[in-house]
């Protein structure tokens, strides 16, 4: 497979082999980084981070990844300080920025923006979130985290908890998990159930899928619980929201019924879906998950820049 110059826009564009390859490269880079402290594969290369929407983790971890590869970074963290405010089109912004850089990372509030950017740009474009559509590097780092923690993905029973209707993270994670032999428990309030077409697709691809509204009942089954935020604005009334919020919080009480080896993940930021008292337990995997962002993004930057070789 040709990686140099390739765009990373949607997890749909990847085969299982390609996903596995990225994870292997990330692992190799993590080891190398631990050994040497810093690397210089991307020396002389420039990453442009175009964040039309705010983000803490994604932007900083891309920038950190590029620095750790020995490259440098330019970019902006909000559209308000750019010519976009003067009415410049996305296409023109991309054509301009590519004159200054070797690879572009973009986050944009509109669905499809990264795909459009990739069509306009000659240099590789990596999607760091396009509206409510895709966030492929998050999915890859999630898979990397799971693989590191369990040594495998096949055979795991995984619960996805929270806003399964609108959450782009859980949609693309579920799609990627369908490449593996997993059982999925979809745990959400009635209002925020996983869209039917995604469940059908998962079942067609051989995944055992169970839907539930109860965290308490399902938690004893799970090897891994992937928690996402439930947003207040999804609920027509405040009382309904408060009821739901309470019953989906992961805390020590809920974890009493879980397997000792259960791991809890969260793409962060969290509000109160996971109580801070869980942070110190061996269940907590979410900060390790944050760490995974760097090697995985190093792998993607290095591969698309064509500086890593085989």
């Amino acid at each position: 497979m040709e990686w140099k110059g390739r765009d990373v826009i949607s997890i749909r564009d990847f085969s299982k082999e390609e996903i596995e390859f990225v994870l292997r490269v990330a692992e190799r880079l993590e080891e190398e980084l631990n050994e040497k402290g810093s690397l210089d594969y991307a020396r002389g290369k420039i990453l442009a981070t175009l964040f039309f929407e705010p983000s803490t983790r994604t932007r900083l971890s891309f920038e950190s990844a590029m620095h750790r590869l020995g490259g440098s970074v330019i970019g902006f963290a909000s559209a308000s300080s750019t010519s976009v405010k003067k009415g410049e089109s996305l296409a023109d912004t991309i054509k301009t920025v590519e004159q200054y850089s070797d690879v572009i990372v973009i986050r944009h509030p509109m669905e499809g923006a990264a795909r459009l950017a990739a069509e306009v740009a000659e240099i590789p474009v990596i999607n760091a979130g396009d509206g409510s559509n895709q966030h492929p590097t998050q999915t890859l780092l999630d898979l990397y985290t799971i693989k590191k923690a369990f040594g495998k993905i096949d055979g795991l029973t995984i619960g996805l908890l929270g806003d399964l209707k609108y959450g782009r993270t859980v949609h693309s994670l579920a799609e990627a998990l369908a490449f593996y032999e997993v059982e999925l428990y979809l745990i959400s309030p009635e209002l925020l159930r996983m869209p039917k077409h995604i469940i059908e697709e998962l079942r067609d691809r051989g995944v055992k899928v169970y839907e539930s509204t109860s965290l308490e009942e399902t938690i004893p089954e799970l090897d891994l619980l992937y928690v996402t935020r439930i947003q207040r604005e999804r609920f027509p009334d405040e009382q309904e929201y408060l009821k739901v919020k309470g019953s989906y919080q992961v805390n020590l009480e809920v974890l009493k019924n879980a397997k000792e080896t259960l791991k809890v993940m969260h793409p962060l930021p969290r509000v109160d879906e996971i109580h801070p008292e869980v942070d110190k337990t061996k269940h907590a995997l979410y900060f390790r998950q944050v760490f995974s962002g760097v090697p995985v993004r190093m792998a993607l930057l290095g591969l698309t820049l064509g500086v890593l070789g085989e």
């Binding site: 949607s10 749909r12 089109s89 996305l90 296409a91 944009h108 509030p109 509109m110 669905e111 499809g112 923006a113 795909r115 459009l116 396009d130 509206g131 409510s132 559509n133 895709q134 077409h197």
Partner: protein, 151 residues
């Protein structure tokens, strides 16, 4: 109704079995209404055994390819196309939904970049029956009525 017979044009294309009222749209989608194009005939609300009423479009001096005509599959899924040479039908085919639909459909997602930036819309056909398409940009799917509303 003799003048509506397929053999009535000398050289060109006859598109038959268009749902009644959709003839003008067919002309628009296929770009047949150019001033310097061939003579264009639209027969609307013609009695039809199959459809009750139907529209027929004829264009002189232009031979449409299957690929071109497939663009109208979304609004005229049962249309048949006759290529006429020297008053005789020399080729006949039915429209077929193409794998990819470009330019004629708008994405129903108001937050899709294709509705805000200068682009040519592009959809992949996920299923032909029932018709379901996925937007190349925002990856959302549309089906049935939603597709017709966004033509």
């Amino acid at each position: 109704m003799a003048e509506l017979k397929v053999s009535a044009i000398r050289e060109g294309t006859v598109i038959d079995h268009i749902p009644a009222g959709k003839g003008l749209e067919v002309i628009k989608i296929l770009g047949l209404n150019r001033v310097n194009g061939g003579i264009l005939l639209l027969a609307a609300h013609v009695p039809s055994k199959k459809l009750g009423r139907k529209d027929i479009v004829k264009v002189e001096g232009k031979f449409l390819s299957e690929e071109e005509v497939n663009k109208i599959a979304l609004i005229a899924p049962n249309a048949t196309v006759n290529i006429v040479r020297d008053y005789k039908v020399t080729e006949k085919f039915k429209v077929d939904v193409p794998e990819e639909i470009t330019g004629i459909l708008r994405c129903a997602n108001p937050n899709c970049v294709s509705n805000h930036e200068y682009t040519t819309s592009r959809f992949y056909v996920v299923s032909k029956d029932p018709l379901k398409v996925r937007c190349h940009y925002c990856e959302r799917t549309m089906e049935g009525e939603e597709i017709l509303r966004n033509l």
